[in-house]
């Protein structure tokens, strides 16, 4: 859960998505500003943290990067339990990865924290020629399911920081005055227009 201390909040964020969609690359771009063409597969999980400033508050993301293979699915609840936010990543050049993303959304809706801020990221947006998933299709799906959507490229850095920034803005804590009692149970903000940009 996001927890606050004078508008400096910590938020657990989990990255989920199919094999080789670029989960680790997105995190490394965001946290270290780096990109490796052949980023090795994630074994088990990796943990990173990075802070973003939103208006007069700062959000420290505690980021769990997970292994994508279905075989390791049974370990996923350990990561998304208690997460304030999730980025579900698919590869715009791979239809199966989009289908898998939808399954993750379903699972989070069923099992995850009900206030979780969810982002759908269509990664590898630099590979326009190989596109298999239309941005409109993903946008529609995202809208229907209360996610915000962006196409990203960890390689070119397009929209990477933006995804995290948009998540930070949507965290329930930053949507209203800090609530010292510790429990904020509000719905995700309805307005998603600002986050709906995509690179194409």
């Amino acid at each position: 859960m996001a927890s606050s201390g004078n508008k400096n909040i910590n938020a657990k964020l989990v990255l989920l998505g199919d094999v080789a969609t670029g989960k680790s690359s997105l995190v490394l771009r965001f946290v270290k500003g780096q990109f490796v063409e052949f980023q090795e597969s994630t074994i088990g999980a990796a943990f990173f943290s990075q802070t973003v400033a939103v208006n007069d508050a700062t959000v420290k993301f505690e980021i769990w990067d997970t292994a994508g293979q279905e075989r390791y699915h049974s370990l996923a609840p350990m990561y998304y339990r208690g997460a304030a936010a999730a980025i579900i990543v698919y590869d715009i050049t791979n239809q199966a990865s989009f289908d898998r993303a939808k399954k993750w959304v379903q699972e989070l809706q069923a099992q995850g924290n009900p206030n979780m801020v969810m982002a759908l990221a269509g990664n590898k947006s630099d590979l326009l020629d190989a596109r298999k998933v239309a941005a409109e299709e993903a946008q529609t799906y995202a809208q229907e399911n209360g996610l915000f959507f962006m196409e990203t490229s960890a390689k070119t850095a397009t929209n990477v920081n933006d995804v995290f920034y948009e998540i930070a803005k949507r965290l329930p804590r930053l949507q209203q005055a800090p609530n010292p009692s510790g429990m904020v149970l509000v719905d995700r903000p309805a307005d998603r227009a600002t986050g709906a940009s995509c690179c194409s």
Partner: protein, 655 residues
């Protein structure tokens, strides 16, 4: 289910006993229900089922049968599973082994879900998953009763069928978001080892309650059992003391040195650990200590529970000094004229302490991996290789001959190939052997992995396998030979990739037992911080530290592990050695699970292999039989002793 299980039953002692017991259990249950429901303190057995059995390995002789119970006290429901005593004819299964798996009073607040499996052939079983993500081994209901078990639970705690999977029942899955949030925040998290009696003492029925419930049993075995339980916890303590005693001199020496250092560091700015070491060595001759040395202020800046073996402050290293690698000339002395290894034990020991020169690996790894027999001749090995080459080509053709039209209708093949294609292009690409565009070695990796996924279709391809194959191909430089060496390695490490994670769970479980044995304060720290699932060591174990060391160091570590010289499970002692090396940092900085995982991942490339191996060796010797007894039989990389053809398939998910 597995073929062998059906005919194994006739000569299975547990099963024979079960037939008698099983029929009696219902009436027993009824009568006890009446007698215990009036217990003044309200601890009540609400469900009993005999002959609920775990299968630590796929072999009938190693199964452990026991009694599963649900106990209610106040509003809390607990599950226990206690193995029967002394019913097995198998000498390999000691009482200790059985006790490893014993489930004592696990509160349902610690349970996340129960998965029911109802195979068309064989017994129904359940897998109980804890909130921590760890699971108990599958519990097979030889006498049926899974449904009754679930119905009983439902009468006492919230049990909801998962919308995702009709066979998964979620415990405490509160519908109200508030309740749900609260529960995720406040529920005590599970201790993911089977032996949870001490950790859940606050919530458990008092031991007196359980004792009383169990004394109702007509069978005397349960009294023995509870006595056994008392004893069960002792070996760890005993060993801790033994270790303490063994190292008492050294400990004193270490503490003395530490406290000296701290005294000095008050006087001079900073200190040089090497100087300290020298100083310590020179003062090792006096072996009395002032009582003030034990006072915490001299111990460490942060008050960290002291360890009998101090690794952090002073780089004292145990174990024999590492030797130089075995070279060509010396290797020749191990062989007779026809190429047989004359003294394989001496060879193994030599490799354990020194490893191999790189140019020898190609030849010697085939023995270490079990592809060639030590007593084979040059001619026999050449012959085997040519036969195996043909065999490899045959298996490879199986997937090569799949036409594009056929592939369209073969989703599993396409998925598998896609996964392998994605992983080989990101495996060790910084190494010149694998770098650059269209590198043929990358295609070899792909071909071997895809062929393996046909050779072992049940296991398939799993992320991590490319990490295990890469060094083998790098060493062998031969497709067929690499394939068969990989096959040999996977005979041992295949269970790491089981769908139900059972191979990994059993190793992480054994690791937690070893840390408890060898560093109780660290174990207690992990317990207090919900780190007992040891998940932060997942990558270490899954791919044998492949990502933790530079490439050539990994080659050395692997050949040392493969000797199985002191233990088949030296890799677990390596884990303990690394954790001990950083224990003061971990505890001093009060690392929580997330921080610990990040810290451990970032140790990659920082670990001193030689020192770690020496420490692992010393810890292994130190732990001795108690160490091996902490590792359940069948824990990878132990080789199965019987029929090796069965590959446990616990799930029917795709891929």
């Amino acid at each position: 289910m597995h073929e062998p299980e059906l005919h194994d039953l006739s000569d299975d002692a547990d099963y024979a006993a079960s037939i008698q017991q099983g029929s009696a259990s219902i009436s027993q249950n009824e009568s006890r229900r009446q007698s215990t429901s009036n217990e003044p303190d309200g601890a009540e057995i609400v469900y009993t089922k005999d002959n609920v059995t775990i299968h630590p390995t796929q072999y009938a002789s190693e199964r452990i049968s026991g009694r599963l119970k649900l106990i209610k006290q106040g509003n809390a429901l607990f599950m226990t599973w206690i193995p029967y005593k002394g019913q097995t004819s198998n000498a390999r299964l000691s009482e200790k082994d059985k006790n490893l798996y014993t489930i004592r009073a696990v509160p349902f607040t610690d349970i996340r879900s129960i998965r029911r499996h109802t195979p068309t052939l064989g017994w129904q079983y359940i897998i109980v998953v804890m909130s921590s993500g760890l699971a108990f081994p599958p519990l097979y209901f030889y006498n049926g009763g899974v449904r009754e078990f679930l119905v009983t639970i439902k009468q006492h705690v919230s049990l909801v069928r998962s919308a995702e999977d009709a066979n998964v029942f979620l415990v405490n899955d509160f519908q109200s978001p508030l309740q749900r949030t609260l529960s995720s925040l406040e529920l005590p998290r599970a201790v993911p080892v089977a032996n949870v009696s001490s950790s859940t003492a606050d919530h458990s029925p008092s031991s007196a309650d359980i004792e009383r419930l169990e004394s109702d049993k007509s069978s005397a075995s349960f009294n023995q059992n509870s006595r056994q339980r008392q004893k069960n916890h002792d070996p760890a303590r005993d060993l801790s003391i033994q270790v303490l005693e063994k190292f008492s001199l050294v400990t004193r020496f270490a503490r003395e040195t530490t406290s000296q250092l701290f005294r000095e560091s008050h006087l001079i700015d900073g200190f040089n650990p090497n100087e300290g070491k020298k100083h310590g060595q020179s003062s090792a001759s006096y072996n009395h200590i002032q009582s003030s040395i034990d006072s915490p202020k001299y111990h460490d800046e942060v008050s960290v529970p002291s360890d009998p073996i101090e690794f952090d402050k002073i780089s004292l290293v145990w174990g024999k000094p590492r030797q130089s690698p075995l070279g060509q000339q010396e290797w020749a002395t191990f062989l007779d004229a026809e190429g047989r290894v004359m003294d394989s034990k001496a060879l193994i020991k030599r490799i354990f302490y020194g490893g191999l020169e790189h140019n020898l690996r190609k030849e010697v790894w085939t023995f270490l991996l079990g592809y060639h027999a030590y007593d084979s001749t040059y001619a026999e090995r050449d012959y085997l290789m040519s036969v195996k080459k043909t065999e490899y080509d045959t298996i490879k053709k199986q997937w090569q001959s799949i036409s594009p039209e056929q592939a369209k209708r073969f989703t599993k093949f396409r998925e598998r190939k896609g996964l392998i294609d994605k992983d080989v292009v990101r495996t060790d690409r910084s190494l010149s052997f694998y770098d650059g565009d269209d590198n043929p070695n990358v295609y070899l990796l792909r071909d071997i992995l895809l062929t393996y996924s046909f050779y072992n279709f049940d296991l398939g391809y799993c992320q991590g396998m490319s990490d295990l194959l890469s060094p083998i191909l790098y060493v062998m430089r031969d497709e067929s030979k690499s394939f068969w060496c990989f096959v040999s390695l996977m005979e041992r490490l295949g269970p790491n990739f089981n769908r139900d994670q059972s191979g990994m769970h059993s190793q992480l479980f054994a690791l937690s037992k070893l840390v408890e044995l060898l560093d109780l304060p660290l174990h207690d720290y992990f317990k207090q911080n919900d780190c007992l699932n040891y998940f932060f060591c997942f990558r270490w174990i899954l791919i044998q530290f492949k990502r933790e060391f530079e490439y050539d160091k990994t080659l050395l570590l692997w050949e040392v592990l493969w000797t199985h010289y002191l233990s088949e499970h030296l890799h677990l002692y390596v884990c303990v050695a690394i954790l001990k090396r950083y224990r003061n940092k971990i505890m001093g900085e009060q690392m929580d699970f997330d921080t610990l995982l990040k810290f451990i991942n970032e140790l990659s490339g920082q670990i001193d292999l030689d020192a770690t191996l020496r420490e692992a060796e010393a810890l292994c010797i130190c732990a001795g039989e108690n160490g091996e007894a902490s590792i359940p039989p069948g824990t990878p990389p132990s080789l199965p002793l019987e029929d090796a053809s069965v590959y446990p398939q616990l799930d029917d998910d795709v891929l």
